[in-house]
Symmetry: D3
Subunit: 323 residues, 6 copies
């Protein structure tokens, strides 16, 4: 199957792709006619497409998140490639294609990501902190198997949230060794919990966060995670004014660093300072790496990357002897 | 007793005052000598004072928050009045002076303020909301009898927090009638709870917030109040994802309106919008009124008022026929 | 007549509506054909509509602010409802429909709003202040009968400006009673005058501010109102350096509070502080209430509300026992 | 007479200087003794000085803005030179010294500055604009003879305001020739009027702005000048909605360019854009030039200059062939 | 030839124009048809145009920056004029039209601009500064003959950069005379060098900056010019820590004044302060003048001008006797 | 020797300390007497001290950066400990104390830090990049042996700059392994060069940056490092428009990320993004660690830490089982 990322104008394409969206629109003709405005995706990227002369049956057949087989022509529209669809049909069981093959995923299997997280929890030595983290992890575990880390800004793909956590844990373990004055338990717990309530803040399927939940909009993931810590403390019989509980809440509440970025308090524990900058380093570099991954080979610059103030990143060719 | 607010240069003063602070300092002479750098207060204001030639006994005698009788002379120092103390002694029981007479207080008795708050709680119709507010109010009730609303910016006096709540409730009841689309239960509950965790965020005695507690510094009063709602919900058997609970948390979390003012989410319920602006209107006007109250009669402008961007307020004389 | 707010996809509509705009556009066909791109409104909201196959006569027939009778079909276009017009004709006298029934209006009759304003003026006790307010009110009275308070951000409807003033006066009377240190004359005069020069800053008809006047753009309503006070003072033989005049100007000039919001000076009279926050409370709550009013019954969130930083407001259903 | 700017540590000074301030303070000794904390000035700069052992007669003898003859020793105190006064007496008539010789002044005589301004007014061709400018100039003329342009930020000396206007007029005449699309009348009128109400905003004597007037604080010089234009228009029988009047007001109101710098509207006439940048260029360069003038010869950097964000300016030595 | 600026709806146009862009697009019809979406320009402005029914030959014939002869009809589309093309052909040699006649240019010939710049260089008295400026000027001279000063914000036309330099030099010479404390060599050198590296930062042809170069994006014109000074110093055998070199670099680095405007250091030489404000005054006034030049006669307001915060400028009619 | 960090009020101290500053001041007595206002330091911290009754010989004896033996009494002054000096003498050779023992230093020997840096340079594979880094390193090597990384904000001690580089290199090596899409040569070169021109920007001795150099103030370390790259390229015969040169300059210029933090361009290479966040993570955590190191054992909070917005950091006690 040809990857969408490699399509170029003039190509005729035949293959299976995932329908990301399927809107019926109308031409400006008299009388106006219906046509389909599609977006197709695979694990390498996305492309728009149009199907003219849509029948009533068609309109009842094609819906988002459905696998289809198409025959189409790649054309340029406003300087961007777009498919003119000539034939389309739904994928059948006998076609042997699986939806999971068409979505963008973290480069490590979810089960392996979860294994790292669980191992890290088991390495926490303070019994209270470990119990709190276990309680909250158990609550979110199913969603961690597939949730993205954000709607778009970084790690926006299948298991992206768990991947972000695991990458931060790698960095966290390095920092713990480099700077022994930091408390390992707080670094580990802070990394695992910092974004975990995104599983309640957002609604997501197949690695795509479609929208925010009501609770997510009214409270935000930072306050939801803070709530979960209180709840865990009460259920586990730990007092809510216990310093471990306060410290865990502080790590979560302060991890965006500034009020204008959503943190009601600023970092005032060494581990809270560390957590913020570990999060930044991972999120920004991943956003850059992801942007590069979906940049067509022919381009020298990525599209503007939201995580770095919408700057474009230059793809300096690696030299023979340089790296 | 002459009120401090009325002292003017050249006056000789005899009377009882409250020692707000009492620092032993040293002159720059050779050899240096100890002297007392005092701040005296009464319900009308504060004034600095110096006692030269301090004995070892004196240093063991005078401490903050003690009532003393003094004889002194009002002098100008850096354009501000200051007392040169000639005689000083501790107040005795037989002097018949009470500490409570020397501190600044809300103009309504604490017991009456608490009565209004309790009556308002009893008027809440939704059983869940009422139960949550009762639970949290019970926890903070003792401190509401005397806590100020802030360290300095507004309502910084005995029972200032309860006074702020009651004034906001008056305004809230007006707004509820003026705009029937608002839900009275949320307005009332939001007003009572919005700053209630200041009783845990700050340490205070006699209406003066001396400093912030550890929990206060690491979490802030907004997140502490949010914690209390979760705790109340669990203890009362109400689910934490119950919409009433989420709405109450949203009111608290958003009442500072913007991230840079400490709110992790912005108002998205009509009652949350109302709560923020009711709070603003009351806090700003009270700060102005308080600044005017402690401005000496001879001045045309108040000192800079922190709550209104450190602007000074002009004391335009009320005309006979103007109000 | 079916209210526009209640239209849903698939409905066939027959009825009278007001043409808010009527643009002739061209299809992308060869040769291109003319069609009408309409916006219809009634007191409940607005909807776009298209009339295909437009004749030369049609083009000379339909213009904005005209009442028409239409037969049309509600379709979805870019997820929003839109009318496909099948028949259209101008309303005739014998149809018995009145333009005033199709525009959005303040919920209180203009004559009643003006009555409240005039009564308030007559309650001002200081003769100079009363004379200034009367002078300026007389100048703007005709426009106060119908002007909106803004182009879009709040009170953007027939007599919206007078409604905003009256609502603020209600709140002002409450505050005057709650805080006797405020001068009632200044509060009342400030409220009546604060936005009154919007009647010169904007051009408006039927409650819709279509654009800004030349003077409005070059000076702004704050400076125009300030000019009017000078002019009134001169015409009434009151010196322009009279403190009442300076105070009234200060109230107007400072009522946006900060330089970046358009105020050249910041509030430095107690009444100026009050005026700003009374204005805020009324404007923000009205913007929220108006946004709710035009939100279709089926929606849980309003459209983004510009007055509250483009946040959407959640329409939490009122409970049986809660409100 | 030795200029203050040239004093260096160890010098013994005898001469006449102007007392800028004369505060009686007390030593920290027991008992405390009175001493005088003086500031002396001449046209080259300022220096502090102390007179120990002050008699009761001394305290009734020395006051600000008095000329005195002193004998003193230059010492270093906190790295800055300061005078230890050994002898002091008031200047007598027979000493033949004049106060005007000791204050900092614009480098051009006030009478010559006013002449330029009046000549410029007479060159304005539009009769209405000329009449307005004449009216306002007449009102402020006496104060223009001596007022500074600001309390401290730039042109803070005798006739500094008139000097600022004249320098801007020179620049304005150049720009008028360089860019014929600008209307000379508006440029000339705008420059003359832009800061003219500082004569009412501030109280000043001998080129020193001591404080702001009540009207100055409540309205600011921009709004006062705007008032004067309205007043002039009415007195001269020109309608206030006359475009010339609106344009003149726009020039004044917008000359600070942005709301946060005090302008309620932003420049929207070409001449308003020009006026703002002519004002900036003159004010910033003058502030730099003034800072250099009072920098002792021995220094390589000026003190921080408020007008350029408190940056210090480097005094690069002029080369033989370079300047 | 009719100037584009004077086209009005209904006109039939025949003449030569320059094709600024020529995009092939498709109609929404079934099947879609290709059409040309053109932009035509001449020295007075630009206009869009559409050519329906495009042949395969057409698509290989018309490209940007080509001169064409057209016959077309001016129609209104979204309230703006647009050409419906009826006939089009390429211009031939025998048509006698030259590309240079169709582009917008500085009002002074490039050769004359360059002459002024060279004369100014020859007037620099310090040998080192002169040598540096000559070296860099020589490098950029060819591009100075035609480069614009910016992509769009100001002086965006043929030789706009040289024109900006020359205009600033005129102003600089005035300021040098007005304020003798400034070093003429630094003012002249600073003006000539301040934007000169835009010739490397941008790619431009025919006065239109099409995009930024790779070096331009990664370093910016300020740092490139700073590099050139280092390079010149080394090639000319002047030490890079020579104060003249440091001062020239400082002038370039600081000329945007603030970090958020791209300057890594703020002005700390008097000439650096002057350079920034001379640049501002020229750039802002030119942007206003240019916006006025392309505003159709019928309009009272320019389009929003980016250089003055997107404000529109009002075209107040010059009075007989006023300008 | 007792460490300064452990002094408490009432202690009598005898030992050797380093004089950080030694100012002669005068008492306010009549006549005023000279006294010494000292600051003493050792590797654990600093303390002020006063020597009363200073002789003429004393004034010629004690100067900053001299080792002295003192006998003194620890007293509290404004709630901070301060020494009252009873005896003082210069340290002699036979006292066997070395200045290096009294200054704060990086925890790793400078020679070892330099070794790591050189090893890293030798691991760079691209010959051009390696040559540039070697050239610049050679220039700064001597100063790298002892320079601090900043005047105060972070790594402000002996060899602090080299220590900062080495710590960042450790983190850089980790990131290179974790994210293979990054070019190791650019990461290594960027880290070594990013702050290296601080050795020219600041004047420092014994690990204390006393002030900024003239070049440092006029250009800043970012532009100086950029200059050095140009110079190295020219001296090494590498073209300045070579992509490696441009990339290295981009890394340096952009490493402060935003214009308001001093970067004239923003990161647009993946390695530039990485460099900024590696720098942040190291600088912030080191600032926190350093603040903790000098916090007396008795304190629960550090002093406000400038690098983290002047927040204080809480010293949560490490638990037995927690890390």
């Amino acid at each position: 199957m040809t990857l969408i990322k490699t399509f170029s104008a003039g190509d005729e394409i035949v293959g299976f792709y995932l329908l990301k969206s399927a809107d019926v629109k109308q031409t400006n003709t008299t009388p106006p006619k219906d046509y389909f405005d599609f977006v197709f995706m695979d694990q390498s990227g996305e492309i728009g497409g149009k199907l003219w002369d849509v029948s009533a049956v068609d309109k009842e057949t094609y819906f988002p998140m459905m696998l289809v087989k198409i025959q189409g022509l790649v054309q340029l529209y406003k300087e961007k490639p777009q498919l003119k669809i000539m034939r389309i049909r739904k994928a059948e069981d006998e076609d042997g294609v699986a939806l999971a093959d068409f979505i963008r995923s973290a480069p490590i299997q979810p089960v392996d990501l979860l294994y790292v997280i669980k191992q890290t929890i088991s390495s926490i030595q303070d019994a209270e902190i470990k119990a709190i983290v276990e309680y909250i992890h158990a609550r979110a575990e199913d969603k961690l198997m597939h949730y993205p880390a954000a709607k778009g800004i970084h790690h926006a793909y299948y298991a992206g949230l768990a991947y972000h956590i695991v990458r931060m844990l790698e960095l966290g373990e390095f920092i713990i060794k480099q700077r022994p004055f930091l408390q390992p338990d707080l670094i580990r717990a802070g990394i695992i919990l910092h974004d975990i309530a995104k599983t309640e803040e957002m609604n997501a399927e197949l690695g795509v966060a479609t929208d925010y939940s009501l609770t997510g909009r009214l409270l935000g993931h930072i306050s939801i995670a803070s709530n979960w810590i209180v709840e865990a403390a009460i259920q586990l019989g730990i007092g809510t004014s216990n310093l471990n509980i306060v410290a865990l809440q502080h790590l979560i509440l302060s991890h965006h660093n500034l009020g204008e970025w959503g943190s009601p308090v600023q970092p005032q524990l060494p581990e809270a300072v560390a957590l913020h900058y570990i999060d930044q380093l991972d999120a920004k570099l991943q956003a850059v790496e992801d942007a590069i991954d979906i940049t067509p080979e022919s381009e020298e610059w990525t599209a503007p990357v939201r995580a770095v103030e919408y700057k474009q990143i230059y793809l300096m060719k690696r030299k023979e002897n340089g790296g």
